[in-house]
């Protein structure tokens, strides 16, 4: 006999199962950004062989995997409803979907849940484009609710000039969801596909042990720049500041390094980007860290995204 909360979750699942709306997810979207090229090609050949270029996903939130196994149909819904109520009693699937869609200006969303063996909730979201059935983004967020933490595990977006600010938009769009799930820390792995600079601009800080590891790479990058003979005195002075920053133990110095030489480029690259090249790090953004929140807020506002959700989340983190 299921509880009324489980019945409610089950009703939401059934509603989504009967939905006729779907999103076509191009198979290319599933390719990991830090994966071997060979692997990507094997996947493509495999899909070509099967004659598929996209994967239709029913809109709404539906059960994906449970403890490592795929479950489908009515049984999956029943089992997942039970786990759902244990893990996130405060929010039903329909509420959760509404929160996500509100942040994405009502875009169609197909989400799949994955409750892992170690108690994590993974949420995989395919986001539809405006007026289109084709997905423009695939997102995976891994929630460790016991630690009030979420891992920004995966995000791929369609490369288009019409989607300016889309990367930042998705960061902002999911903040109300984090507040509803009482999640106050966002974790990332920086430098997987681009340089390690951009996350620092959004307020992310390397873990203390990661910073200690990174310092030598950054110092080597600084030396490589300073070895150039035609370096302007201004850039040389900035590099001297960078040397101090990279020798100090405060991980937030990465923010300053990522900001370096906004106007000066070396070989077509910003100095900050250059110094953080080949730098991969694990880090986080704590909503209880006012300085980090301010830095994220500035970036969201600059990308044309409102900061109300962030302010509300930061206030909730401060009240804990």
């Amino acid at each position: 006999m299921s509880s009324s909360a489980e019945s409610s979750v089950l009703r939401d699942f059934e509603m989504f199962r009967n939905s006729r709306e779907s999103i076509d997810v191009p198979l290319r979207l599933w390719m990991p950004d830090d994966d071997a090229v060979a692997f990507a090609w094997v996947g493509r050949v495999h899909n070509l062989f099967l004659g598929r270029t996209s994967l239709p996903l029913q809109a709404g939130i539906l059960p994906g995997r449970l403890r490592g196994r795929f479950l489908q149909g009515t049984r999956a819904c029943r089992v997942q409803a039970k786990v759902w109520v244990q893990q996130i009693p405060q929010l039903g699937p329909n509420d959760l979907l509404r929160l996500i869609r509100d942040g994405l200006a009502g875009a169609t969303v197909a989400a799949r849940t994955d409750f892992t063996r170690d108690g994590r909730l993974d949420l995989i979201l395919a986001i539809g484009g405006p007026g289109s059935r084709t997905a423009v983004a695939l997102v995976e967020r891994r929630f460790t609710l016991k630690r009030a933490s979420v891992e920004h595990h995966w995000l791929r977006v369609v490369k288009s000039s019409q989607n300016q600010g889309f990367g930042a938009q998705i960061i902002g769009a999911l903040l109300p969801l984090y507040e509803a799930l009482a999640v106050y820390e966002i974790r990332i792995t920086a430098g997987l596909s681009a340089g390690g600079a951009v996350w620092g601009k959004f307020g992310f800080v390397p873990d203390a042990d990661e910073w200690l590891r990174l310092k030598s790479t950054i110092q080597a990058n600084i030396r490589a720049v300073m070895d150039q003979e035609d370096l302007s005195p201004v850039v040389r002075e900035i590099c001297e500041a960078a040397q101090w920053l990279a020798s100090n133990d405060d991980p937030k110095n990465l923010w300053i390094i990522s900001d370096l030489a906004a106007k000066q480029s070396i070989q077509g690259e910003k100095l900050g980007t250059l110094l953080l090249r080949n730098v991969r790090w694990r880090g986080s953004l704590s909503m209880a860290d006012l300085e980090a929140v301010n830095r994220l807020r500035d970036r969201l506002i600059l990308s044309g995204i409102g900061s109300a959700a962030l302010d509300s989340l930061a206030a909730a983190a401060a009240r804990r």
């Binding site: 990991p32 950004d33 994966d35 990507a40 995997r65 300016q164 996350w199 300053i256 906004a262 500035d298």
Partner: protein
């Protein structure tokens, strides 16, 4: 098919080392953010001036030597960050 593709992605996400360089019409969040920031830099120099002033001020408060902050950010931002009377809102409005 669904299962196969989800597994395909999941099992491979944290492979270290080589990186995909093929252009398949999609990009990672990191690439998207980096491109967005670079485009904004090109279109509007100083678009993130307020953010840099805020960070420079925070650095001074955290004990980063004033000379390092001045060298890193330049005189204009250093002056704005050092001026305690300049509230963040005013710094934003000054852009």
């Amino acid at each position: 098919m669904t299962q196969r593709n989800m597994t395909l992605k999941r099992d491979s996400t944290h492979v270290q080392g080589t990186r995909a360089t093929i252009d398949d019409g999609f990009e990672s969040a990191e690439c998207a953010l980096e491109r967005e920031q670079a485009d904004a830099d090109t279109l509007t120099p100083d678009w993130d001036l307020a953010s840099r002033i805020t960070t420079a001020r925070g650095a001074l408060e955290r004990g980063v030597p004033a000379d390092i902050v001045r060298k890193a950010y330049g005189e204009k931002i250093f002056a704005a960050a050092s001026a305690h009377s300049v509230e963040p809102e005013i710094a934003h409005a000054a852009i």
